[in-house]
Symmetry: D2
Subunit: 309 residues, 4 copies
């Protein structure tokens, strides 16, 4: 399969999907995009992408990326009555599935594709739309090594970091571990930020140090505006975080792994939801922590960098 | 105070102190170094540093950095019978204290210096000797803003990141918060790394993804060799981590801040010590976690980058 | 239904079932007993019980108690090919189910019995064989109030304490809550017993006070021999406790209830299992706690009362 | 020392002290009582107690009980300018100290008394005023065995349960362990009571079962009115519980014992205080738990027994 002639299909132009497809198109790759709402895909034409009217139009592509929301959506676009495989003719060699679906969904999809001779590369990501735009996304992939090798050049055009972790649905469990860590890290940051503030350190000064210290991460930096200026516009809801914490704890049960920090964080996220604070971003863990500490938070109204340029 | 004529004194050439002083000397700064064991300081002469025989030789410097081990050492080198202030004549304008001393020690030092008209800048750091060498150290500073402004040009020659967080000993509490976070992050990494491994993902592959994800940090990268290849040579002992967790929990009591993740992590570190696993680096939290999960760890013997070049 | 003429059937003569049926028979109740291994039931004849050869012999009873092990056993003895309902003729009015089965199993049994016009009383218990013998058992019941009223006189002959908590499978969730509490209480007792011992208080003296204090319970008293003399013969395995903790945490998820103490205790029990200490009673939580505290436990070899006479 | 001629002194007639002294006086013991506010002691005269005007009047007693509030009060009544020892003549053989004072205070008192040849029996209690009245108090004692033997007949007239745990201040650490357990048990009861209620079980029915189960205790029974009918009149404040949890955690640090359940409970109690819910009894942990679970509690207004008659 020479790179020059490889045709890529793309399903799903949500906030993440758009930015990913845009990077791919800008790189000069031959990419054909389908989205339920066609108009949302059209701006990609300026970068050279072709816009498809039907999912079956992508069946002749070599590799098809799928970036939709839920497992139901994935099944619909792949195997539904008007889905990718509904045409009956040629099928892609590889499907790269980047949505946040469960291990069970991923395994079902793998079986379903295998019956048509298609390899599945499970390829969830770390990052949000802004991270993609900043060129800082990372992929974690699992499935046949051949599928990974075929997809790698295109993954690399979308994200600078691509890790292959093994066969089957292993990438899903890695993504779940990643999100469990994200929950724990956020709660710990909430604990120490409130402690520092009560001791007299402004949040922006505290987080400036943390972000520039050896402990700082892309994540800690892009959450800083939320922690400093109480901007809680949703990037990830408390309920979605709870779902991922529960998936992590379920996996921990299956593999006999005690995870005390994950368990406690899960209960704190549940408390956030129980207290009715689940209308905004999960970064409101800071507010819950402040209340538990007898502290009324106020926005510091200091311009802070999210580190994403 | 014109930069050209500013004279810097340096007390303490341990693993960290040497690298810090080396960076300062290489920058062309006029720096005079004293160390208990003179021979350890002598290699700095090649970078232009002068080597002092007596602490009193530094009394005529404008700014004196102090990087020793404990509060007892600090008191000895500053106010002991042969200490910095024992000569009775000219004294520095500012002392920059970078050791890991307590809030109480820091406050006592401040009072002691104030009586001689000297300003104290508390300036603990985030990083180890290798981080300094890689040019990635960060300072967090507190004390008089005038002292900070005077020291800033020299701090900046040692480390790319310098944050001023306010008056008094606030930098100490920030450093404690930093170390509490370090403990929580390490335990959470241990939990998810063991889960991923039991699910079938090699540790090096898992951590490669985490390190390159939005959650990755300089810290997670430089702890990767320990987690992958079970290299537990000491960088920070379990007992020192426990001490800092306890300082954090003490501060949390003082300021009425519940810190469940810090509390649980503290108990896990105590368990590591209670089980007799405190002879090596605190990264052995991974081993404790593996045992609790019925997993016998083996070194993967895969070359991994610590991210420090 | 006059008490005098009421006929009771009894299925299951395990360690618990035997003691329960014995109390009922001794009270002069007309009770017919079936057990897979007939010989284990025969000693009950001395108390006036009749021994049945076939489960169908119990179909003409008014109320049938079922005390077997698992949901599979329950289904077999009630609805299996040679089960209670296999005869096709008269059926009991009420089945009282005392085994530790899940909410789902209980609901399935209820439906299965309802189709034959039989009411189900879910009636799990608190206590072990020795507790029954000491006349200290307690029942928690749910199902139709009519079924409860019919069974109450006979429940009261087995146990001094009978609580009705409502319709359906509510008694199951109460039993799960009870066992979650049992896990938390045991872990907390392990923590404080080890602390007291390390401070210099013998375990038997410490527990003597606790047992006689306002915090003492029948449970804390009958676990005292295990804690003092390290007698860890199984009464309840770590894996069974983990199962009940997980059922509790699952219910907590369903009802949006954070349970930090249950979560942490669950992870400690998992650690006990992961460390391979699940061969004996769950009271080995004391050993795990001692190890975590750097303490080598020894039996005190002091005669202690288990409070059960 | 023949029982018939033994004279007992009593210092402190607060809520607890009054009930304790009343039991002693009613038993026919020769007891002389002093209280800062004399009128509060006078009702004891009806039971045969003598009322003293001055603390020095008790110096000629053989054994003096001390039941005041704080260590400052203890020091004042024993060694203050008008205290028990201020007369200079005869002194008691034994002081029995029942207040909730720290290990350090207890040790200081021991030294202070030893210098006058007086033995100290540390004798904190489990129970409140109503428990004493119901004849259900328990003592835990430490100090010289001779002092214990001398005091035992009188301790036994006050409380049915008396445990000797060893030399020195060991009884203090046992009392702290007891109170740590009380905190953990209350939080666990709050967790499962809210879970049971959300599943459909009224609190009074749930606690009726728990109280009568093997897990039930005098404590769980006398807290039931608070949990069922939301009667949160203070018996023990959140801040006092936090203090005792902290004393327990401090002891755990000293003796290298990790106590995860105690740590988490401590943080929950801190949250109760941080949320401003520390105006009433610590049983408001139930309210905090309900809020975290999205449940608005209402009093069930069901008459429930507190088990104390």
């Amino acid at each position: 399969m020479g790179n020059d002639s490889v045709k890529i299909g793309w399903i799903g132009i949500g906030r993440m999907g758009f930015e990913m497809a845009a990077r791919l198109a800008k790189s000069g790759t031959d990419v054909t995009v389908w989205n339920r709402t066609r108009t949302k895909a059209e701006p990609l034409a300026q970068y050279g992408a072709k816009i498809a009217d039907h999912l079956t139009d992508l069946a002749s592509c070599d590799i098809v990326f799928c970036v939709v929301s839920t497992w139901d959506d994935v099944r619909e676009v792949v195997a539904g009555p008007a889905g990718l495989l509904s045409g009956g003719g040629k099928v892609p060699r590889v499907v790269v599935e980047c949505s946040s679906i469960s291990l069970e969904g991923s395994a079902e999809l793998r079986g379903l594709l295998a019956r048509r001779g298609i390899e599945l590369l499970a390829a969830p990501v770390s990052g949000n739309a802004k991270v993609i735009k900043a060129g800082r996304l990372s992929f974690v992939c699992s499935g046949p090594k051949t599928a990974f090798d075929a997809a790698l050049p295109y993954l690399g055009k979308i994200a600078p970091a691509v890790t292959y972790v093994g066969e089957g649905e292993l990438a899903r469990i890695v993504k779940i571990c990643h999100n469990v860590f994200l929950g724990v890290v956020t709660q710990s940051l909430a604990e120490i930020t409130v402690l520092a503030q009560k001791a007299g350190v402004p949040r922006h000064a505290f987080l400036d140090f943390m972000n520039r210290s050896v402990m700082g991460s892309t994540f800690s930096r892009y959450k800083t505006p939320a922690f400093v200026n109480l901007d809680f516009r949703v990037t990830f809801t408390p309920k979605l975080l709870r779902k991922d914490m529960d998936l992590g704890l379920d996996a921990a049960r299956r593999y006999d792994v005690p995870m005390p920090l994950a368990s406690i964080t899960r209960d704190v996220v549940q408390t956030l939801i129980g207290r009715g604070m689940d209308d905004e971003d999960f970064a409101k863990l800071l507010v819950l922590q402040a209340e538990a500490s007898g502290l009324a938070l106020e926005a510091e109204n200091v311009p802070v960098d999210d580190g994403l340029g």
